[in-house]
Symmetry: C2
Subunit: 659 residues, 2 copies
């Protein structure tokens, strides 16, 4: 018998569930990061860069952004802690989080993952300490998503035993590179390796870009990406190389070596496969971005929910009742499903962080199948979380009216800073294709360019129906699904097994349909391979979305199962109902079209969603308090003022009295 | 026999159709506003305010932002021209447009509409010339949407023959007031009028707020709203009044007069009705904001479409074919329906501008029924256009990848500047309620607070089924609807009459359902009047959206009917198909749920949408060129560079050659 959601929930218990296994990392951030680290509104780009550069070096070392590095270099060998640290930093200042992510995640992470012992010994300690600041120079002006096709070259010359790093034309310029415009001393530069007259695909080199005085090194041209929509504190720049000599040992040579005589060798023969293995080691960046987006979403929701809990919009005709913004159904329709989705994604992210910690954190070689799954999950959840952030923060800003447009109320900064997340560390649409490709090929060892489309024959050969990826909680899920009492119309829409079955069925049916359409296309459009995939691109992207929806719901269900406090579990269960039914409601066209819902049941779902909103209305504040964002971190004038104002209004804001 | 869309379209002809009756106003702006008026990226708030203030006074007088004023004060008595001017200015710089809108639309407009001859003679010439800058001080910190409940008081004292203007507490402070923080010398201040011990509701006074040296007048406290998400060039501020003495003749007394002895008189007896009549005269602000949002949307779409027409994302497996961003189905799915909606809204806006010009521009008294319709239309289209702008500009920024995040590519500015439009000049959700209320009461002479909810008895008495509002093209629409060949499944989904009937049927059915639910609620929840409306608020808002969809489609259809160039008409007809079917596709859940579409037909609509995307792909560039935005106004680095770069890449961007 499930408890009623009206049982009082102890926020500390809810917080404990949400904080999860790295609770002490979260608490350390909450304790140590004071007002000094918060954004300053209205500062110039130069001021923001100066401040963030300074704060980066002042981050208390014990906090954990560099926790992923081995202990011998000053880290804690704790990958999960480093991801959680970036989530926490994102609630303090997103520029600071991104700057730290560039330094320790991308730059340091690449040196660690792609370099070998001598690179590590030479540089990791200084990278961890922040004494050596660096860049991750992959993206080029002309090649954003298609990183396998980078145009920068690095050509080995056995005579001098150096590489010649060169930018052949403007489209090959490295662009949007964090830490480049102001602070970076070195860069991990990705380029096409050429030796002995042969190309061997993209590799990475550690290249000094500034001397000790901060001047560009000879042959290196450094530009500034200029003002951006947000993240003003991050110095994004542009790098070009004019036949820069790079010593042989600066090749990060874990996955490819060049001998003194120019002989190339690698443990992975195929260029493409090697490159994607290299990229795969850097998956943590996407996990961190997804987590940071979620963290900012929680800040925005906390602000909007708390404002809506004290703000009145209109006088009410019920004399004995005070109507607050959060009492309006339309307001609940905006805030509560977004809040439920934020909860669902929180559990999915937590599961992903635990998985990456386990897969990449051990001493054994990484299991390739699990690594592929991890990459797919990271790509999908990054897309889902960053789009959810963009939509939700926008909605929160509107929910706060004109106040939401003022910098002092934090929402403009959250919005502008997170906006780029939907296209950096992988464009979301491209990432969804990656997810779909994984589903379509059943995680076979298929490597190829990130767009996933290849030879026409590929389709006929590789695309096949696959067993749905098992999530961590597969046994639990199967038990719930098989326990559904009765079929279709008879089952309550709040039955968890029914909800899970509906999500799974949608993914499966969409996937089967995509396979069928691709096979048909492969037989009729053999001479137009681009069209085979392009004609079903919308369908394929929907498959990926449906997959992420299912994975997210299953993670939420598993999270509730682990919750021991009955009142918290009951509340989460209601929130999970709202999440599941909101998703079904949003896609009811598909369910009706495919005979999965009757019109009567579709209407019933809308009615149940509205009744869940009513039921959860009194819990809105508890739900955002569970995020446990320190009061100072909210950094929001209306929250400080509105409570006072409402008190003043109750006391003094009578309608003008007349004599 | 409709022409094929593949007939070559003369962009000049398309432009002529879009430019409409105020083409010469549009061209004057295109000619006169050079690069000097364009936004400067990365400037500080102070720099932006200084620049925009200066440019405001340098706007060529003939351009028309002040065209709405009578000729005797320097205007042209041309209301349509003033709205079109604000659309054009919005494509140059949104801060400049908003600053001009505050000065001539809100401040000057209020003096003109609410004042009488002696106010006009004393001030309008200086307002038109820009020598007297002013504010529109309505919104209060504690009262945004509920402007009828403002707390500022203005109490008449017959002894001194002055009013006492007073801010009783902080929640009554005037907030977000444009032109207040830096430049305004006077303000139109809205406050509760009290005389002879009686309240008479909200009126407006013309109040000096700064002296000739720019210092606040005695008793006036001026604050700064501080940094904002965008519109940095607009000096939003806060005004408080500490028993400020205002001469009796500074009451803008067209709708309410106070005699020397304090006797109050008005041509409109009811306070509430008088107030909404006063507000109604200011409807032009909403029309201008909607138009400005549409103008910015066109700029963003032009940038994204042109970028997508030269940018490659991935290499293609078809050796003989260059695949550009715009060739991807997913990219077309993002850009083209948004472009089609922009076209549809363009025609709806043009119809609205013509209507306001006719209704408010004549010498005869304004027809009250038409005025009510105008207000409802303006509210609905403002909401539709500003939400469409927010969504579409965001999508365009993502469609340009990392480049879309750089200020030099304009999209960040368009996004940040237009964001506030969804909540200023009326919060969009509140405006939709206003639209719904108009539909529910059949435009009876029902006035009430903007939230639309009143006594419980109101529902039972006033809510009734109503004849759908007739749009300008009603006869044409009825002819098309009645010409539908056959019923339901048999008719092509591209049949215009069928599309119109579907939109109308949805609105009608939703409206009937809302009426039924409200009546039921009124009989069962008589003691909880707030709940009667709140429980159906989502339904009621959907009614309003469906209404705006229909009005928009009908305006588009009427616009095509007026188009004489056959190739342009054929293209517009296809765009209209895409608009209509995208809307139906987006709401297919509803149509299936209510038996309006069979599953097979719902699937067919998706297939037709995809084939329309293919058909319109070659016309994307033509469609944005039709907006005729001067090249310099796009002010976008990637458009300048990308063409060169692509040329360079074709020539030099070979894959690294090896010896």
């Amino acid at each position: 018998m499930p408890r009623s959601v009206s049982d009082p929930v102890d926020v500390a218990h809810l917080r404990k569930v949400l904080d999860g296994p790295w609770a002490e990392v979260r608490d350390a951030h909450r304790d140590k990061l004071d007002a000094r680290f918060l954004p300053v509104h209205g500062e110039s780009g130069d001021q923001a860069r100066e401040r963030i550069s300074r704060l980066l070096t002042e981050l208390p070392a014990e906090l954990g952004m560099a926790a992923s590095f081995p202990t011998e270099y000053g880290g804690r060998a704790d990958i999960g802690a480093s991801v959680v640290a970036s989530e926490m930093l994102a609630q303090v200042d997103l520029s600071l989080m991104v700057k730290a992510g560039v330094q320790w995640g991308l730059f340091g992470g690449a040196v660690l993952a792609l370099g070998t012992r001598h690179h590590h010994d030479a540089h990791l300690r200084n990278i961890v300490s922040g004494d050596l600041l660096g860049c991750f120079a992959m993206t080029e002006t002309g090649h954003g998503s298609d990183v396998q096709q980078l145009r920068t070259t690095c050509t080995y010359d056995p005579e001098t035993q150096t590489f010649d790093l060169h930018t052949p034309h403007q489209a090959a310029r490295k662009d949007y590179i964090g830490n480049a415009a102001r602070d970076g001393r070195m860069a991990v530069v990705f380029a096409q390796l050429i030796t002995g007259g042969q190309r061997h695909g993209v590799h990475a080199w550690l290249v000094p870009i500034r001397d000790a005085d901060g001047n560009p090194m000879p042959g290196v041209t450094i530009g500034d990406a200029g003002p951006k929509a947000g993240l003003l504190g991050v110095d994004n720049g542009r790098l070009s190389f004019d036949h820069v000599r790079v010593p042989r040992d600066m090749l990060l040579d874990r996955y490819g070596q060049v001998a003194a005589d120019g002989t190339y060798s690698s443990p992975i023969a195929d260029d493409s496969r090697r490159f994607f293995t290299m990229l795969g080691t850097l998956v943590r960046g996407r996990v961190s971005v997804g987590g940071a987006a979620a963290a900012a979403t929680k800040s925005a929701l906390t602000i909007a929910v708390r404002y809506g809990d004290v703000r009145r919009q209109f006088g009410t005709p019920d004399a004995d009742r005070e109507v607050l913004l959060n009492d309006y159904l339309a307001h609940q329709r905006k805030l509560l499903p977004a809040l439920a989705t934020t909860y669902a994604l929180h559990f999915a992210q937590a599961e992903l962080v635990a998985a990456i910690h386990e897969v990449q954190g051990g001493d054994e070689p990484v299991d390739e199948h699990r690594q592929r799954e991890l990459e797919s999950r990271a790509a999908g959840l990054k897309a889902a979380q960053t789009w959810h952030a963009t939509r939700t923060i926008q909605m929160c800003r509107e929910a706060c009216g004109g106040a939401g447009y003022l910098a002092e109320n934090r929402l403009p900064g959250l919005k502008a800073d997170t906006d780029v997340f939907t296209t950096f560390e992988g464009d979301n649409t491209v990432l969804l294709q990656l997810v779909a490709k994984g589903l379509l090929t059943g995680y076979r060892d298929e490597f190829g360019s990130l767009d996933g489309w290849g030879r026409a024959s590929f389709v006929a050969e590789q695309v096949r129906e696959m067993v749905l990826e098992r999530t961590a909680a597969r046994a639990l899920i199967e038990r719930l699904v098989s326990a559904v009492p009765g079929r279709g119309e008879e089952v309550a829409v709040t039955d968890r097994g029914w909800q899970l079955a509906v999500f799974e069925d949608r993914e499966k049916h969409l996937l089967d349909g995509a396979v069928r359409r691709l096979r048909n296309g492969a037989s009729t459009k053999r001479d137009r391979p681009f069209d085979i995939f392009n004609d079903v691109q919308d369908h394929v992207l929907t498959v990926a979305s449906a997959h992420i929806d299912r994975v997210t719901l299953e993670a939420f269900v598993a999270g509730i199962e682990r919750t021991t406090d009955p009142a918290v579990a009951a509340l989460l269960s209601r929130v999970c109902d709202l999440y599941a039914l909101s998703v079904i409601e949003a896609h009811k066209g598909w369910f009706l079209e495919h005979g999965r819902l009757t019109p009567a049941r579709a209407k019933a779902i809308t009615a149940v969603v509205n009744s869940l909103l009513k039921e959860l209305r009194p819990q809105m504040r508890t739900l955002v308090d569970g995020f446990a964002i320190p009061e100072a971190w909210l950094h929001c004038a209306i929250l400080r003022e509105e409570a006072d104002r409402q008190e003043a209004m109750t006391a003094h804001d009578q309608f003008p009295t007349v004599r």
